[in-house]
């Protein structure tokens, strides 16, 4: 039932917007679907918390704490983006980004594209998390790519076309690698359990039989899956599409991709990680994960230091964040996965805030270049600009904001797992990233006013910012117990320690 709600609401929304002729109608449907989706996600989380796992259609759809967490976060971001998107596109229309007022029909077409494709995107994201079958999961991940390509080309600029092409190609290659990996796992499963059937790829079955998998096949499979879903998550060196796509897509899309795509890809990776650990033990996957995690952070750092465009800056930041999560997974132990999933949670709340502030800044100044903008944004955006600075502190893991807790947990995992050298390198890179990030944003926000002081008019754009800011501050000191329970349960699944149920 809950599954049905979760999956059907976005599909329905997409269908309705496709046929609706009225802008307000589209916006209304969009908002409602976002609310409904979030409600469904909360329901699912509730069921999982009470019953441990839930599934239907003979395990075709399956949800444990891990999937529930990912679904919850995804639908939360979707919910946060919905009102912002309304304000964002209205402003675009006002600034005549879609061309002049002559052809309102064209505007509608543009908007419909967004309001139709985004729910599909949301649908496939939810499917990724609740698919009990790794093959279906792959199909769903591919679905997210297909749904988002045309969102990247939204503005139809040559550059957005370029970004979309690169995105499509890299994601395509990556996902074929992931598929290859999935096939190999299926082969291994068949070989150990015998009998080719749909259920052979079901998580519940696989995790049981993983210990008997053929080791060589599993190694190969893990490598392919790591590269494949890594490309989707934007782990270096498969990260190259990210800055282009994020800086070209409309801000709400960028926010959705930066959080949900990352979450989904890492979710998939985590599933295969568990299988691999059950078969090979932690050593082999850990060294690869640590390598790629540090590589991502290390690649992100210099680009953040000498960045010229603040939306690309955000993209590199999310490469860095992805790296941190992968690193946490790699450090392993009890703390590593916990740190990773906490980081995923906190990141899903903080990153949209950054994107919204950046979007407001861009629509205010008309460009997203750090060089062209004189600074003193504080006077033009009395609400968003200071929040931009605060969010910067939050995303760079500055206490008292919550991402410090998760990063600290990852560090602890590193030291607990005798990876001192790696952990120290990690800390050093974090400092460098903070330096670049904070320097650029402070230059942008502070300084003398360039024009007369203004007020932020569009409430659709400021309220989400304020709401998220409050949430970010609160989370720094207090995390709702159910959410933490969900995270911890998820961490248990990843560390494959048996969960204790009340």
């Amino acid at each position: 039932m809950t599954f049905a709600l979760l999956l059907l609401i976005p599909l329905a929304a997409s269908g309705l917007t496709a046929i609706s002729r009225e802008r307000r109608a589209m916006e209304a449907i969009h908002l409602l679907s976002a609310l409904g989706g979030f409600a469904a996600a909360v329901l699912l989380a509730g069921e999982v918390l009470s019953r441990g796992t839930t599934s239907c259609w003979s395990g075709f759809l399956y949800a444990d704490s891990l999937s529930a967490l990912v679904v919850l976060l995804g639908s939360f971001v979707y919910l946060a983006c919905a009102p912002y998107a309304i304000g964002y596109f209205r402003t675009d229309e006002a600034n005549q980004v879609f061309g002049t007022e002559e052809n309102p029909h064209e505007h509608l077409a543009k908007l419909r594209k967004y309001f139709t494709l985004t729910p599909l995107f949301a649908f496939s994201m939810s499917l990724v998390a609740v698919a009990g079958n790794l093959g279906v999961m792959w199909v769903a991940v591919e679905g997210t790519t297909l749904a988002s390509i045309f969102l990247v080309t939204f503005y139809g600029r040559p550059t957005s076309l370029e970004a979309a092409w690169k995105y499509a190609m890299i994601a395509g290659v990556g996902l074929s690698m992931a598929l290859f990996g999935t096939i190999l796992v299926y082969y291994a499963a068949q070989h150990s359990t015998g009998g080719e059937s749909l259920s052979a790829l079901n998580w519940a079955v696989l995790v049981g039989g993983a210990a008997r998998f053929d080791r060589t096949v599993t190694r190969l499979a893990f490598i392919l899956v790591l590269l494949g879903y890594g490309a989707k998550a934007g782990i270096a060196p498969m990260h190259t599409w990210k800055p282009d796509a994020y800086s070209e897509a409309p801000v709400p899309v960028a926010a959705l991709m930066a959080v949900s795509v990352l979450n989904c890809a890492l979710y998939a990776l985590a599933r295969f990680y568990v299988l691999t650990v059950n078969c090979l033990g932690p050593a082999f996957p850990s060294q690869l994960l640590i390598l790629f995690g540090l590589l991502s952070i290390g690649i992100a750092a210099p680009f953040i230091l000498v960045q010229r465009n603040y939306r690309r800056l955000l993209a590199y930041s999310s490469i860095d964040q992805g790296g941190i999560m992968v690193l946490g997974l790699g450090f392993g132990g009890v703390l590593g996965p916990l740190g990773m999933l906490l980081h995923m949670t906190f990141h899903s709340v903080t990153k949209p805030l950054l994107f919204f502030c950046a979007g407001n800044a861009q629509q205010q100044t008309g460009n997203d270049s750090l060089k062209k903008t004189a600074g003193g944004l504080l006077h033009a955006l009395p609400v968003s600009a200071p929040m931009f600075l605060m969010a910067t502190l939050a995303i760079t893991g500055t206490p008292p904001f919550s991402m410090f807790q998760s990063e600290f947990t990852v560090m602890r995992a590193g030291f607990a797992g005798q990876h001192e050298g790696m952990a120290i390198l990690f800390v050093a890179l974090l400092v460098a990233i903070f330096a670049g990030f904070f320097y650029h944003i402070a230059q942008l926000v502070l300084g003398p006013a360039s024009g007369p002081p203004q007020r932020e008019t569009c409430r659709w754009k400021t309220y989400p910012v304020v709401a998220l800011s409050v949430l970010v501050v609160v989370m720094g000191f207090w995390l709702p117990a159910p959410v933490y329970a969900l995270v911890e349960g998820a961490a248990r699944i990843v560390t494959s320690t048996p969960a204790v149920h009340p």
């Binding site: 079958n133 792959w138 290659v173």
Partner: protein
């Protein structure tokens, strides 16, 4: 018993067809005419359908017939036709000089094939030889080779359309792997994959068309405005 019931014969057939598939892949690397590439891809897909049929026949796995049929319809007929239309629309016949020249590309393809064998070796060892379940397992190296060579084509070719073709041939490698290793993924998943491929090709085609319009060229290496 008749020879067409002899697993050995089936094994031979499969190996033969797999070899042809590999040859076709290398042909695609070697020459530069778009149309020929598309034709090669069509034939390749046809052979894959053949392999699938054989496996289905000898292993009495009906759902693989479905996969074979899908391959035949989709990859061997629909997509080639569609792509030729596209080529006709955008009036580009020949691949401009690839980043890696042809002789070198062929050599590299050879090396990749060897790598594929090296990688596949332990897996063949894993599945005990001789038993009928092992039917067609020896095509796994071919599958990996298809994958790697296709990947290499994506790296070395400049035309957007050729990259699409390369991606498709890479997918063929996966299909071959699926067939030869696991006698096909569960049908529902196969369907999903085929659906995805179809949609992907549509989208990519649209992108190709747009690129052609916007940059009035299909040279991907011109798409380098976004830096840093």
């Amino acid at each position: 018993m008749y020879f067409w019931q002899d697993p050995q014969f089936g094994d031979r057939m499969i190996t033969l067809m797999a070899a042809f598939v590999l040859v076709l892949q290398i042909t695609m690397v070697a020459q530069r005419w778009l149309i020929t590439n598309i034709r090669a891809f069509a034939v390749q897909s046809l052979l894959l359908a053949g392999i699938a049929n054989t496996v289905a026949y000898f292993n009495h796995a009906p759902h693989i017939y479905a996969a074979a049929a899908l391959t035949l319809v989709l990859k061997a007929i629909l997509l080639p036709v569609f792509l030729r239309r596209l080529v006709a629309r955008i009036e580009i016949r020949q691949e401009i000089e690839p980043l890696v020249n042809v002789p070198l590309s062929v050599i590299i393809s050879g090396l990749l094939t060897m790598l594929a064998y090296v990688v596949a070796e332990p897996l063949r060892a894993a599945s005990g030889p001789g038993d009928s379940a092992a039917l067609g397992h020896n095509t796994l190296p071919v599958a990996i080779a298809l994958f790697l060579i296709g990947f290499f084509m994506m790296v070395s070719r400049r035309k957007a359309l050729t990259q699409v073709l390369a991606l498709l041939s890479l997918e063929n490698g996966l299909f071959l792997a699926a067939i030869s290793l696991t006698y096909g993924m569960p049908l529902i998943i196969e369907l999903g994959i085929f659906f995805d491929v179809l949609v992907a090709v549509m989208i990519l085609a649209i992108l190709v068309y747009r690129i052609r319009e916007t940059f009035d060229s299909m040279d991907v290496s011109r798409l380098s405005r976004l830096k840093g």
